[in-house]
């Protein structure tokens, strides 16, 4: 058997709305029936739970006439006292005590779980996570749409106009948090449209300013060029340059100081380049003059000689090796023979031990000593031969060293000559580049420089000095004249405006693109939110059908739904009931009685709570959900509550004595481990409600039939 769904174990209320004195209501049961006639404090109890969870009572906040109108603190509480609601919860097998204290303006939540104590935002967050499991879900939406049902809120959904009803339904479906998205998207599109227009206007205005500034600059420059002292100075400088800077050919001197400055800078760069080329030319000439001469035949002869010597050395080394080997062998043989003779001589007897002939020991000894001496002479000859071979190899090595040294010096000379040639080639290339540069040079000067003419380079350095000096004087003249300064200021202004126009053009383009995107987004937002609502209804619909069928408020209109759509760019929702047999449809508010319409509203609330499983709230609090219902509806509702309590801790209240009695009987426990609490609000005075509490007794259940 599944454990009872049990989250709220008790709620203590003090100085809150109808409660002044502290009272604790025990709720440790899967079903609690709260009863009592109107005005006894039942709704204050439901309000207390909602305020504890959310810190607000939006239903009452909208009714308060002034912001200072206190509606949370009990009117009979001591001055300065704060409202306080505390609940003991069981969350994931942990016992948690949450308490909220405050007034209608502000309140603070406290969370205590074992050693852990959280306050304020951390406590709110812990409570939301503890109750909803999924931190993405909004506790407020969950409480208002599927946790705590208050009848007037539900009925308002059905009675509103289609647009407001759509908004209410969105809230009802847990979509309130996205309903505001439409507004923000529309507002964003409008703001972005205004921003784009403003950017375009700003760009246009700045562009006009630029055009005007450019025209003014042209006018000032024209005036400056036409000033007598400027024209005279320009003519004088032109003549001066023609005489003193023959390497340059300047058709017309600049009439703006910035251009004169640029001309001076160009002339200096030309001068520096020409000077460098002249310096390089002198260095190269010196290197070319001092370059060593190399005889190619001699170089080839040396290379051949070196190769021949290498071969001869190899041969001589072979001969040396051979002689050394022979000498070593001969030395070994002579040593062996001498050792043998030295041992044999003392052993010589009178007769041969083999043939028994008489031996002349003196003669044999002499003979042996001759043999030993003869070996010594051979060794001397072989040692001489080996020494001669060594001498030959050494002589050849010396020859090869000399030849190699000669060859290396020749090769260094060859490399040095090649390097100088490469430098000269690069120098010519640089001359050609200078000759074809953008500097205003005379054609014959260009040609001479490109050809590496040293005189032309010298002439160019002198001319460039002159041009630079003249350009400096001209720039100074143009800048220091009154009109020149004005031209410079205007030019700066034009530059600033050009930069601004470019930036504004880019900004305007960006804003326009963004405006187009936000416009598309705004258009899609309404349809998207309606689409989400439709999808949610589709998920809900089978459960709605099931619940509506059980409550059966009408004999013919047996199905209930909402038609969601978009009208004039706004979402609309129209409730509709249908007779499946005839296909006839109608608005439940028009075809239903008040109590039947209540059943329709309750159906959606219960369907949302049920469908949100397992991510929804683990409890369901229904404050007087059905009023003026007939017996059949009441029986259907009571039977439905039996099923709901299997998954949700259920707290249901009614002011009708008959319904209370029915619910107490229907929800009474039928097996061990299932509990039902009965809370009766029997009276009220300034101290608060008078409450009787008890746990319903388990009555034994009998059977007519044997279990199969």
């Amino acid at each position: 058997m599944n454990p009872e769904p049990l989250t709220i174990l008790s709620v203590s209320i003090e100085n809150f709305r109808g409660f002044r004195d502290r009272q604790t209501i025990e709720l440790d049961a899967s079903a609690t029936v709260v009863s009592g006639s109107n005005g006894k404090g039942k709704t204050s109890f439901f309000d207390a739970v909602q305020w504890l969870l959310l810190g607000s009572l939006s239903r009452l906040a909208s009714l308060a006439s002034r912001r200072s109108g206190e509606y949370i603190i009990n009117r009979f509480a001591d001055v300065g006292a704060l409202a306080s609601v505390t609940a003991t919860l069981r969350l994931d097998e942990r016992i948690v005590i949450v308490s909220r204290s405050g007034d209608h303006r502000q309140s603070q939540l406290r969370w205590e779980a074992g050693d852990e104590t959280l306050v304020g935002a951390e406590a709110e967050s812990a409570l939301a996570v503890g109750l909803l499991q999924n931190p993405e879900n909004s506790l407020r939406d969950a409480v208002l749409t599927s946790g705590v049902l208050q009848q007037d809120v539900v009925r308002a959904v059905l009675e509103d106009d289609p647009k407001n009803r759509y908004r209410h339904m969105a809230t009802f479906l847990g979509l309130e948090e996205i309903a505001g998205f439409e507004d923000q998207a529309k507002q964003g599109a409008e703001e972005q449209g205004r921003a784009a227009k403003q950017a375009r206007d700003e760009h246009s205005a700045t562009e006009q300013q630029l055009r005007a500034a450019e025209a003014e600059l042209a006018r000032l420059e024209q005036r400056l060029a036409e000033l007598p002292e400027i024209t005279q100075a320009l003519a004088s400088m032109q003549t001066e340059l023609a005489q003193r800077a023959p390497g340059f050919e300047i058709q017309e001197l600049p009439t703006q100081s910035a251009e004169a400055v640029a001309l001076g800078q160009l002339a200096r760069r030309v001068r520096a380049t020409a000077e460098q080329l002249m310096s390089d030319d002198a260095r190269l000439r010196d290197q070319e003059a001092n370059a060593p001469e190399v005889d190619a035949d001699e170089l080839a002869g040396l290379r051949n000689k070196l190769a021949t010597l290498g071969q001869e050395i190899a041969n001589a080394e072979c001969a040396l090796e051979l002689a050394r080997g022979q000498y070593a062998s001969a030395r070994q043989r002579a040593s062996d023979l001498a050792e043998l003779a030295a041992r044999a001589i003392p052993l010589l007897g009178e007769r041969c031990p083999v043939c028994t002939q008489t031996i002349n020991a003196g003669e044999v000894e002499v003979h042996l000593r001759e043999l030993i001496d003869a070996g010594g002479e051979d060794l001397t000859a072989l040692a001489d031969a080996s020494f001669a071979a060594e001498q030959l190899v050494a002589g050849l090595e010396q020859d090869r060293g000399r030849v190699r040294s000669l060859l290396e010096s020749q090769e260094v000379a060859v490399s040095r000559i090649a390097s100088v040639k490469a430098d000269r080639e690069r120098w010519r290339q640089s001359c050609a580049e200078l000759g074809s540069s953008s500097a205003p040079l005379r054609p014959d000067t260009r040609e001479a420089i490109a050809g590496g003419d040293a005189d032309a380079l010298r002439l160019l350095t002198q001319s460039a000095d002159q041009v630079a000096a003249t350009a400096d004087r001209l720039a100074s003249l143009l800048a220091t004249s009154g009109l020149g300064e004005e031209v410079e200021r205007q030019r700066s202004r034009v530059d600033v405006l050009r930069t601004a126009v470019a930036e504004l053009a880019e900004r305007a383009a960006q804003q326009s693109r963004q405006a187009e995107r936000t416009k598309t987004l705004a258009g899609a937002a309404t349809r998207a939110v309606a689409g989400v609502a439709r999808e949610r209804f589709a998920v809900l619909q089978p459960v709605v059908d099931d619940i509506f069928g059980r409550l059966a408020p009408h004999p013919a209109f047996t199905t209930l739904g909402f038609e969601m759509g978009v009208s004039y760019r706004s979402g609309v929702a129209d409730p509709v009931v249908k007779d499946p047999e005839s296909g006839v449809t109608g608005d439940p508010l028009l075809v239903f009685s008040s109590s039947q319409a209540n059943v329709a509203a309750l159906t959606y609330f219960l369907a949302l709570s049920w469908t949100a499983d397992p991510q929804g709230l683990p409890f369901l609090l229904l404050d007087d959900p059905l009023q003026s219902m007939d017996d059949v509806n009441a029986l259907g509702f009571a039977d439905l509550c039996r099923h709901i309590r299997s998954r949700r801790q259920l707290v249901v209240s009614t002011h009708e004595r008959r319904l209370a009695s029915l619910l107490e009987r229907k929800l009474a426990p039928r097996s061990e481990g299932v509990r039902t609490r009965i809370i009766r609000f029997t009276g009220w005075d300034r101290g608060g409600p008078k409450i009787e509490q008890e746990e319903a007794e388990l009555e034994p259940v009998g059977y007519l039939l044997e279990a199969s």
Binding site: E177, I178, E581, V701, L704
Partner: protein, 183 residues
Amino acid sequence: MTEAKLDTRLLLLARRILERHHFRVQERQVEGLEDATWLLAESDYFVLGVAAGVEFDDLLLLEGYVVESLGRLLQDHLGPKRWDSYVVLLSTSGAEERGRPDVVRLQHNTRSIRRLVALGTAAHEDAVASALATFLPLQEPPMQGLRPPFDELIEQLVLNGVDHEQASAAVASYRVQRDTDES
């Protein structure tokens, strides 16, 4: 008794559904009517008498017999369950007669036993289960429950022509703004 036309298919389906939901079920003879049966079914919470006829008039006849028979069976040892007794009357025809005064009167007659009349109940399991819904668990909620609305919103924005990146960014921006406003 006057002859009533019975619908055995509906009764068979009702039995199958109730047994699947752990009801104890027994077929009983309608007294005075040969080969006519009704179902006695009970669970921890309910005691039911289920009968099925072809037309509403047949149900009217059956109702009297089943209410009387069931009433006789209800005993003190059943405990509180004796107050949760129902007679369920099923017929495939008569859907158009649901609002007829005598049908409504029968539905609202809760004297000793509540009557549930399901006219126009098709002879298949879903329809019969719907007629018996009061005694069966609520439909299972969708396995995944409801998806976070912002995920659904992004999906719908994309379906309505907004590129995914922009949709995600717009929704994220909205959420930040909303959280800031709330705090």
